[in-house]
């Protein structure tokens, strides 16, 4: 059967039930829709509330599953209250729940009660990157032998194709350190650093890996991911950071499996 001509939802005969049913699902101030009932004329308020509860709680749970470190930092009651605001303001538009919560880090950034934790949104961005890496397409990581086979005088011209899982995130706060200690189950002691950090998220096989990058390395890898040649990315990183160590940066990117392939630049 082929797709039939259809009237827009809500105008076709019998199609109004979704239009009338949905507004109350995410708005507790709304009354139970008039089109529903309990059996034999019984009331339907608590019955409709089952659906309201299923929708809201399951979406809060979905955010909790994506952002466990954020929840550990804030505590569960704080997290669920914050997530409830976000769910009502920005419900999902895709049936794939692992795609949900992409706007949550920005929401956290402007959430009134999270202003005392200015690094929290960046921790959330790393967690979002973690999940994207987890579901990214499979690909073999660039092997060190492949790179070693390139003659030294050609290295500068190389451009790199990122592995589908690779993400780089820059934070003005020690977000990678905060992320790492809160994704583990060990007790969290005081965090003694206040410096900016960059995260490298990769998944060379099936396990997602998150590394804190030395100053300059984030800039270098970001340049490579943007399609710059190795020489140009290294020069930019060296200019910004006198301590930038190119050999160490290459070692990290190979070990992390950040790239899938190399080719000669233009």
């Amino acid at each position: 059967m082929h797709t039939l001509e259809r009237e827009p939802a809500g105008t076709a005969s019998g199609a109004g039930y979704c239009r009338d049913f949905t507004p109350g699902l995410l708005d507790p101030a709304r009354k139970t829709p008039a089109l529903v009932t309990g059996p034999n004329g019984k009331a339907a308020d608590k019955r409709f509330n089952v659906y309201r509860n299923n929708v809201t709680v399951s979406l809060i749970n979905a955010l909790a599953a994506v952002y466990p470190a954020v929840m550990r930092i804030t505590g569960e009651p704080f997290f669920r209250a914050m997530a409830r605001f976000h769910v009502r303001e920005t419900p999902p538009t895709s049936p794939l729940l692992f795609e949900y919560g992409r706007d949550f880090p920005d929401f956290i950034e402007r959430y009134e009660y999270a202003q005392s934790m200015p690094w929290l949104a960046d921790v959330a961005r790393i967690e979002r990157g973690w999940l994207d890496a987890y579901h990214a397409a499979d690909a073999a990581a660039l092997s060190p032998t492949e790179l070693a086979a390139v003659p030294p005088d050609r290295l500068g011209d190389l451009v790199f194709e990122a592995h589908p899982a690779t993400r780089i995130l820059h934070s003005g706060y020690p977000a990678v350190t905060i992320f790492s200690v809160n994704r583990a189950s060990d007790p969290v002691g005081p965090i003694e650093t206040t410096v900016a950090e960059s995260a490298l998220v990769t998944r060379p096989m099936l396990e997602v890996e998150v590394r804190r990058l030395a100053p300059g390395v984030g800039l270098f890898l970001g340049g490579l991911m943007a399609g710059e040649t190795m020489a140009s990315a290294a020069a930019a990183a060296g200019e910004a950071n006198a301590d930038f160590d190119l050999a160490a940066a290459i070692r990290v990117m190979l070990e992390a499996g950040a790239f899938a392939a190399i080719r000669r630049g233009e």
Binding site: Y17, G38, K42, R47, Y51, S58, D138, L206
Partner: protein, 309 residues
């Protein structure tokens, strides 16, 4: 990590073909990733099937696909969609439909099912199985949606009866009459969720046995069993919630035994989706279902022998 070796090569070339495990007469469980390592070392677990929620495998790659590939090599698999929104008035999401069909093609599941419910309206996805009125108009739309799914997956879909908590004033037919007509119009099969029958019967004050008497049991290709939770409605009466967070209730086991007595040993799944227990607890529920299936399989074989004698 080596346990989950992924066969990128064969997948890319489209060569990957799984064993044609038989699912007839088997009990199974929801497949949860946290159970994978226990399942792989469980020597006793060699018969059962596993059911997965299709949407959890709609990412591009990584651990979910590696785990499902591993499971599918050793076991029959049932692919259970939870958000096609077949019961909604708006056209099916073509992107989602294509993703669903791609999973059917890739994993060659023994069973493929979806729900008589809706979850998307306009552009919002509500992440719940929402109820629909049973009218001539919704019947026609649901039948069109099932036709569309079956055309793209090129096989019959099993449609699952919902748990519901309320009724629509505009409904003009019973759920069983609606389902019977859907089967007639589309040729789809049915996933009979016995827990859902019990939950809805309790919530709406009808007899579960009457429901089953009026339900087209001949078309059932799979059965679901699950645990439920209890609340109260506005009048303080019992309102059951399809929570999938505990063992199957005694009353549901009894109904299940009645259904199997009538239909024979149909593949039966124990669902457990929240407050997930250790693997042995879930496996024990499936073994209880398997014992009932085996007992009736023997009775059905005797009956057939007698009929031929």
């Amino acid at each position: 990590m080596p346990v989950l070796a992924i066969h990128t090569q064969s997948r890319v070339s489209g060569d990957l073909r799984f064993p044609a495990h038989r699912i007839e007469g088997l009990a199974g469980t929801s497949f949860k990733h946290e159970h994978l390592s226990s399942i792989l070392v469980d020597e006793e677990q060699n018969r059962g099937f596993f059911e997965v929620h299709a949407e959890n495998y709609m990412g591009a790659g990584g651990a979910p696909h590696a785990a499902l590939t591993r499971i599918r090599e050793d076991h029959p698999v049932s692919l259970h969609g939870v958000c096609m929104s077949i019961g909604g008035p708006q056209p099916l999401d073509k992107t989602h439909l294509a993703r669903f069909a791609a999973l059917v093609e890739r994993y060659e599941p023994q069973l493929v099912s979806e729900h008589l419910a809706w979850s998307t309206h306009s552009t919002t996805y509500y992440n719940d199985l929402l109820p629909l009125p049973y009218t001539e108009a919704t019947l026609q739309r649901v039948a069109e949606h099932i036709d569309e799914v079956q055309e793209i997956i090129r096989r019959p879909l099993l449609l699952e009866n919902p748990s519901t908590y309320l009724l629509f004033r505009e409904s003009t037919m019973s759920e069983t009459a609606f389902i019977r007509e859907i089967v007639k119009r589309t040729g789809c099969g049915l996933l009979l969720d016995v827990n859902n029958v019990f939950v809805s019967a309790t919530n709406h004050g009808f007899s579960a046995l009457d429901y089953l008497a009026d339900y087209p049991l001949d078309h059932v290709g799979e059965i679901h069993l699950a645990g439920h939770a209890a609340q109260e409605d506005d009048e303080g009466d019992l309102l059951l919630i399809d929570s999938h967070d505990g063992p199957v209730a005694d009353a549901v086991w009894k109904l299940f035994e009645i259904v199997i007595g009538r239909c024979g040993p149909i593949p039966t799944l124990v669902e457990w989706d929240s407050a997930i227990p250790e693997w042995p607890v879930l496996k024990a529920e499936a073994k209880a279902a398997q014992a009932i299936l085996d007992r009736h399989a023997a009775a059905f074989r005797r009956e057939r022998l007698n009929a031929h004698a």
